[in-house]
Amino acid sequence: MTRSAAEILDPSANAFLTGISQLNFRRLIETLADGILVVDLSGTVLYANPAAAMIFGYPAADLVHIPLGRPVISGETTEITVHRRRRSPADVEIRTVEVSWDGKPALLASLRDVSAQRAQEERRRQSQKLEAIGRLAAGIVHDINNLLAVFESGLRLLQKQLGGEAPNPNSAMLIEELISRTRNGGALTQQLLAFSRGQSLYPETIDLNARIEALSMLLERTLGSGTQVRCDLDPALDAVLVDANQLDVAILNLAVNAKDAMDGKGTLSIETSNSPADIEDVPAAAARFVRVTVSDTGCGMSKEVLSQVFEPFFTTKGDGRGTGLGLSQVYGFIKQSGGHIRIESVVGAGTSVHLFLPRPPRATNDEPRSSGKIRRKRMDE
């Protein structure tokens, strides 16, 4: 085999290649970040550069001779999904042109793995959408609170006007009943506010491990005998700065989801770590956050479900078992605390939810404390 590089069929394109030796050309292609595949007309791979091998998850030598199939010829970039063993699928942009290879017509496909970029866009889109929903919810809650206030003061006025001498004793009872219903309504709107960003948090410096230990006793009793609760708490864990009640609610929400996912059988683990590894979009996570992870050995979720779980009212639980508000509470709380959340899930194997919670500002000599005030929303995108 004398020729190792593809020749573009269009003769005018050859002009660009004059002056480049075969060897240089080969080196160029071997070091390209984009994947290059040469495929014969029946769809068998003739050549794969290292980047292409990486995308497919095979050594380049193994890719050659594989009857991959013929890539559709198109002047434009189109998208395919590449499936790899034991790795998540990759979104790949592909563009295919006709070339000649060893003197025979063939196809050259250039491939670019855009998965990371797509995932990032998706996260951004998601957080924008949630923010919009949160604002909407906050607005509605405000209006409903006003209405409730009108009802309540109206009822109080009626109560006063009737005094002790109601024409019908039931009227007084009815008014009392209506007043307590408006209070229920008020409590409900407060809960709704928890899912929007307008809600006020009262962050304090707390001992996360102690909090989890207290909760785990409750969990052990409520989860049922088929499920085990395991705690793996980092003894060197630093304090975190969050709203303690919201933190409890968040962990309970995660535990309830884990319980539902395991359907009465499995292990719920709660793990803390003082030096979490970096998460993709948060460099130096270790320095600013501690991590708590709630894992289960339950049913896991598909990519489709995973992309929607933070949406208020999104639930896959039928017959009224789900409200779809659990993870949106967790999300709202974490974002507002300046933390991060990341979910890993494998269908049939289980789910891990990682919460990255902020440490309090350090009160050392080199970094004076900023009058004890909390820097909120410092990590907002």
């Binding site: 594989i66 009857p67 991959l68 199939g69 395919i80």
Partner: protein
């Protein structure tokens, strides 16, 4: 550029369309599938295989990328990877001539 043409385009051909879940490219492929089947009314049947639902089917067929349109009766299987919305290219590859051009010249 395809090497073989079907002598009898009226015969029923069975292709498989491998997709993975509900992605934009899968949706496009499904639309193209309907167009191809309509264009060759009754002549081409295309079964859909969602490899997320049937990973073992993809594994045994050696499908590495989706969407892939595959004629598994050929050996090795004749396969087209990527956007199949250019139905002329697709039909040509699988040996179906455009209806208007007839199928008598070779």
């Amino acid at each position: 550029m395809s090497s073989s043409h079907r002598s009898d385009p009226g015969a029923n051909a069975l292709l498989r369309l491998y997709i993975a879940g509900d992605t934009p490219s899968a949706r496009r492929a499904l639309e193209s599938r309907l167009r191809i089947m309509k264009e060759w009314a009754g002549g081409i049947e295309i079964h859909i295989v969602d490899i997320l639902a049937h990973p073992e089917a993809a594994e045994s067929a050696g499908i590495l990328a989706t969407p892939t349109l595959s004629d598994e009766r050929a050996t090795p299987p004749r396969r087209l990877i990527g956007d199949i919305s250019n139905t002329a290219q697709v039909l040509d590859y699988f040996g179906f001539r455009g209806k208007d051009s007839g199928y008598d010249h070779s």
